[in-house]
Symmetry: C2
């Protein structure tokens, strides 16, 4: 199975897409995406754990719980978060309006919003936008829909692949938006994966959890978990395969394909991290448990001092070890080993020579810097988190944004 | 009781001080501080909770546990952390060498180091420095000792006060260093408070805990807890007061004085936060418990998005509410109220008008920006954490530092 990161029109049988500008963004850029399945699709979703949930997230979770959807409405430029009862009425109106226009039940519509918090989503513009998007729906509109989801994203994120399931050709395509407010649990973003495979909603739920754990729950840009995160998968069954059994060989291949699409989208989100100039994959090994490894990986990945050292291509392993030390996991300094860009800068507590550290510094000038922290506990626990560097551009961007 | 932030020579009866340059810093700047009491002093200390503890921290904690000290040796420019058995031997040698020079037991010497992690502390320079500092000890050397503690600090941090205890005049003086790797539990730094009051070691321990909780455990610059944090209090009893009883009226006054000295030092550390252009005091009220309030305050204080908005004087309360939402504390968006610079930008979930938000933006241009988040749970839990903004200078500084 080969991933394709396509810019050319890509079709997912039975799905139509649109991206329009309806004036929610003052810039006049695309700000409303519509995704519609010709037939009812099975749906599963994962939503933000932030206690402050945007109105569309509350409503989307309620609709997705039923296991069936036809339509996804996504607006950018306004998060519809912290907007109280009025915000919920607008989100409901979006579902009803799309339902009327497309002749589906309002509960078959999944609403998503992303953008500024605390500003009421303009109802008339949103509904007019849905009408326009309904007219614009096209099997070739996927790329435009991905464009319309963007807020601070430098580029739209689309990944697809095709595979055979029991003799039938099946397509998976994923769209994502996200660049800031990215943290594990769930990385701050909207993700929508569409497939024409036949998969039941319960099977889709079982497949989604591990795929999210290995992708959007394993990246960080700024450690801020947003109010609006949503990851959706819709499967409309148009491919005509016998419903997929997750535990079968085909089920495992499909699971791997879903994980690959979501993993690549997650990597694209980190690559597009606000102000990011490079990515580091923090792998922690030799921990007593995967959970312990994950705590250490997250502490290292979110350390401002590690992230600025990454930006400066400085193999300052002391900052890495220091972050590991405050992760709340028992460890011993004299057992720690650290590799930066493949170069061993610390081996069981013994620092490398200056010549080796200089080699690590050269390796850190690359776009991607693998960092491996081995805790040396004798345990087999491991975890990986991908992070971006912290640059002057991040600060410039986020101190100038909004208001 | 009035705090004095003094630059002029200040004396604490019975204590002598020195600051010398011994070549640990390549720049030739002061890098070794010595503090010595003419008589045995009671001592109490709080040390980093980082699992990776520098050799001097391990040794200092062991010596302080005995409740008695005469001498504090502090070097800057090298943290003596992640230096294995060799690092421990250097820390022990420093205690023995200072003990011989000053005719005290090695266990009466408290060693502290701060600076780069993972580089062996040069033994000969350190010991020569201790010899030179011993010769330079003077009752007027406090300011010079504070200078010698600095690493990335823009200025030395010294606070003092005098008060009367049972008719006797008592002096408290505090020295601190710290600007980066500052997080609660304990804020990354070295702090030494000296007093001529007579206080037993157990009493000193009881007084120290709440003073640290309200000062160094309530600030953050970058959320990184260092390997070398140590807060020490030495009381040599030269004032001749009857030993202080913490529960007495004098005990409470002394506790308030200690808290004031440490609180002011903590504020100075945040003001000197790397790249900081301003400070925000994040107060969380209306929580179910103080612990819940503290979690929310810390999430807001450490949010990169809040800190960059602070730098940009942007009253983006959505980022504050979002951070509160992922603090892991139950809360409801429609009950939240937020004040920025005294201006109510959100009242029980209802956003303020643009005119009011503009007033908040003006208030954010000040050096100090109070931010109040009321959770509206009906509970009385509250907490305060002081944070600095995240500026382009922070990134520039920390991506260029070291190696």
């Amino acid at each position: 199975v080969k991933l394709r990161i396509r810019e050319r029109p890509l079709r997912v049988p039975g799905f139509r897409f649109a991206g329009v500008a309806c004036g929610i963004k003052k810039s006049g850029r695309l700000d409303l995406a519509l995704i519609h399945s010709e037939v009812p699709a099975a749906v599963a979703g994962v939503f933000t754990r932030n206690r402050v949930k945007a109105a569309p997230v509350v409503l989307a979770a309620r609709h997705v719980r039923r296991g069936r959807a036809r339509t996804v409405v996504i607006n950018s430029g306004n998060a519809n978060a912290c907007t109280g009862a009025a915000g919920m009425r607008v989100a409901l109106a979006a579902c009803r309006h799309a339902g009327l226009a497309l002749d589906v039940a309002p509960s078959d519509v999944v609403p998503c919003s992303t953008g500024k918090i605390g500003v009421l989503l303009p109802r008339a513009r949103l509904l007019d936008g849905i009408s326009a998007a309904t007219r614009a729906l096209s099997p070739d509109g996927l790329w435009r829909a991905a464009h319309a989801m963007r807020t601070t994203d430098a580029f739209p994120k689309v990944v697809s692949l095709q595979m055979r399931i029991a003799g039938r050709r099946v397509t998976l395509a994923g769209l994502a938006k996200g660049a800031g407010m990215i943290a594990p649990d769930v990385a701050t973003l909207l993700v929508c994966v569409l497939t024409d495979a036949a998969v039941s909603a319960p099977a889709l739920r079982r497949l989604l959890r591990p795929a999210v754990a290995a992708s959007f729950n394993a990246i960080t840009v700024d450690g801020d978990t947003s109010t609006n995160d949503a990851v959706l998968v819709l499967a409309n069954g148009i491919a005509g395969n016998a419903p997929l059994v997750p535990e079968s060989a085909d089920g495992r291949r499909f699971a791997a394909a879903l994980a690959a699409v979501m993993g690549e989208l997650a990597e694209m989100v980190v690559a597009d991290g606000e102000g990011a100039t490079k990515r580091a994959r923090i792998a922690v090994t030799g921990a007593r448990s995967d959970a312990a490894a994950r705590r250490v990986a997250r502490a290292v990945a979110e350390s401002q001092l590690v992230k600025t050292a990454l930006y400066g291509a400085d193999p300052n392993w002391g900052r890495i070890v220091c972050a590991a030390g405050y992760a709340g996991v028992p460890l011993r300094a004299e057992r720690l080993s650290v590799r930066v860009g493949g170069v061993p800068v610390l081996r069981r507590g013994v620092p490398a020579s200056p010549a080796i550290v200089r080699r690590a510094a050269r390796a850190m000038r690359a776009d991607r810097v693998p960092i491996v922290v081995d805790l040396g506990t004798g345990g087999r626990g491991s975890a990986t988190i991908t992070t971006s560097d912290l640059s002057s551009a991040y600060v410039r961007f986020n101190s100038a944004y909004s208001t």
